[in-house]
Point group: C2
Chain length 433, copies 2
């Protein structure tokens, strides 16, 4: 038994028995020659899945059962389902149930997981207007919940409070859990995270002595960088208890406790006046119902002057959140289209100065995270269990694929109060000197 068969056998052991009604259509007599192995029902299920995914060059199989080839192409990967029941369940709601089955070890991938997902994302994306209308209709039915103060705290707790030690295994030394900026594609993860912070600070044209408020500060890295490299005072808000504790300890250890104040509170409770408003990687958790409120907070903070920057995962057009990611990884999350993001700015007469789409940089960031994660997978397994290892592997690999295929975008939006002329003349200062 080779390694592949061992994995499939191990997965098969855990497979639930197929419900009886799934067996009804099975008839081994209905095979159609070489392209079909196993029962006709297996073949029908596998073909249905493959067709739903836009016929990618991928081989799909059921362990000890049917198989469909890659349609004549060289297969990018082989996906083997532990049982017919597993496959039948996935076929009912692929975007949700594939992730669960993969996490449970009921799906085995031979070949590169990222490449498989990229292939499937590309084949299944239906460009053009019709796809958009269908997606919008789907989006209307699956509208994100409004993130109240309590719901936000629950959502954030479920993702960010699972252990600073866990995140330290694969985020690199900066502990920045947002898209990095690679001045060249060969930059390292840490170099690119520092370059991202400098890119943000230069866009905001921070000057020593100024005050900055940060909405959603993660482990506090950007706030610390702004204080230590740009000489600004920072108040940084976050509702993740574990992150705020980590950030406070690090700022104290590095001697910047007097420059950076980490506040364990919701962005909706930010008060005071500041020279700059910055939010990197929080908007994904805000939800469109609260965008006008977020804009109001920025409006009150800046009071007709100053600069703001919001950095967020986005979309080319409104689309519902990938349901497995929303359910298992990021409850309450929603990446907006640019038009949706404008609901932050338009009610308050903010002027959008600059939008930069960095999606390929996020694909690269995630490749680096995934490599570090795989290298630490034994430690992750000891911290949690095999199911967790597989779940987060799928999330990271799927995110690489989302950004590299363009189903996800990364927008950095620089803005200023509409009445302010304290705006940069050109953007050359970001690239020279």
């Amino acid at each position: 038994m080779n390694a592949r068969d061992e994995r499939i056998a191990a997965a098969t052991e855990r497979a639930e028995p197929a419900p009886p009604h799934h067996e009804v259509g099975t008839s081994p007599a209905l095979t159609d020659g070489g392209a079909l192995e196993g029962s006709a029902f297996d073949y029908w299920l596998l073909s249905r899945l493959r067709s739903f995914l836009g016929d990618p060059p991928v081989e799909f199989a059921i362990a000890n059962g049917g198989r469909v080839g890659a349609g004549g192409a060289i297969p990018v990967a082989r996906v083997t389902f532990a049982s017919r029941a597993t496959l039948a369940s996935i076929t009912g709601d692929p975007w949700l149930r594939f992730g669960d089955a993969y996490s449970d070890g009921l799906v085995v991938i031979e070949g590169d997981l990222v490449r498989l997902l990229e292939t499937v994302y590309r084949s299944s994306s239906s460009g053009g207007r019709r796809g958009s209308l269908l997606r919008r209709a789907a989006g209307a039915l699956r509208r994100p919940h409004t993130n109240t103060l309590t719901r936000s705290r629950d959502n954030i707790h479920r993702h960010y409070d699972i252990g600073n030690d866990f995140y330290a295994l694969w985020l690199g030394s900066t502990m920045a859990y947002t898209c990095a900026y690679y001045p060249s594609p060969t930059a390292t993860l840490d170099e690119a995270q520092v370059a991202k912070m400098d890119h943000v600070c230069r866009k905001l044209r921070l000057k020593a002595g100024e005050s900055v408020v940060e909405a959603g500060c993660g482990w506090g890295t950007l706030a610390l960088h702004m204080a230590s490299h740009y000489g600004v005072r920072v108040r940084a808000f976050n509702i993740s208890h574990a992150q705020v504790q980590y950030a406070r300890e690090r700022a104290a250890r590095e001697g910047f406790a007097s420059m950076v104040e980490y506040v364990e509170d919701d962005y909706r409770n930010i008060a005071g006046h500041y020279d700059a408003f910055v939010s990197v990687g929080m908007l994904e958790h805000v939800g469109p119902d609260n965008y006008a409120k977020l804009g109001q907070v920025a409006h009150q903070c800046l009071g007709g002057r100053g600069r703001g920057l919001i950095h967020s995962i986005g979309r080319n057009r409104p689309e519902p959140m990938q349901p497995w990611i929303e359910k298992r990884i990021f409850p309450g999350a929603y990446p907006p289209s640019l038009a949706e993001m404008m609901r932050i700015f338009e009610p308050w007469n903010f002027s959008v100065l600059d939008v930069e789409n960095l999606r390929l940089h996020y694909a690269q960031t995630l490749r680096h995270w995934l490599a570090l994660y795989e290298a630490a997978s034994d430690r992750v397994r000891r911290m949690f269990d095999e199911k967790f290892v597989r779940m987060w592997r799928l999330y990271l690999a799927g995110s690489v694929a989302g950004f590299s295929c363009g189903t996800l975008q990364l927008f950095q939006v620089l803005f200023a109060p509409g009445e302010s002329n304290d705006v940069p003349w050109t953007r050359a200062h970001l690239y020279t000197g």
Copy 2:
């Protein structure tokens, strides 16, 4: 009689007599000391206008009549209305009728016209959300007409076909009638127009041998620049007969007739496949009802690959067109907010790569145009008449003020088909080498 009094007297001669009902409330007895000269009705009208405009530091007066001071501030300018009837008429619908009265010589400005308009724009802009809601309500009532093929042709004819010789007086040698790009604020108009064309071409990363389609090409300058400096073949569309004739003659004279084809047709009739789609200063004339159609044209032209750029006047939020400009200068025009612009891109899964707001560059461009225009005003008067001279002066000066005060924006939006990874890694190539 000094120059000022002469101008007022000349204006007064042309003033229509006040309708009798405007005289009813007049009672010279109701003066309130030094702040009030002339009748109480004059004072009431002038105060009402001044209050409507947010009490700017401007003196308002009626020729040989009442006057209100600048509220204790040093007045930026004095605005004198030829008669009470002129003022009463303006008070009824200031944004429309002020322009007409100014054009007719029934309003005399002492002081700098641009500075006056900037002062009034600033004082009368009501920031914050309430202003926005009122504006949206007003916008809903004053929805722009849908620009059909015929209506577009009429609209464009009324503005762009009034004489190539006229535009040649003040657009500079490039004949580019769109926002320039000033690498430094001291660049000349011609330098900045060339820099704008290079900025656009570099954003599009044009390579020799590629094909470009241009929607709305003005006098053909950008198309010619792309062909002569970047070695690309260009098909450039425009429905202004006078502009297309000029463009064809220049391309032939400069030896590029085989590289650039000017097509006198509507953007909706563009066909074929191209490496790049570009539209600089046409979107203002398209109207939101046609944005999805414009996106469809770009989608068909690019077919899943290539790059696109749309450059347009815009707004921080949806607002109705300034009614005098819409009526007298740009029929059918409408500058969109960024969210409105997204209606071009979202239905076709275009990915927005880069948005740059160049409004201060348009203020500078317009200052240069206005200076050339004033220097040529005698020739304009001979081509048309005094009313035309004043009308276009007000349009140019008001546009400087609109961009310098932030009531108008200038957005350059770079985009690519969502499935294309042929996108620039960073924007550094725009600024280095």
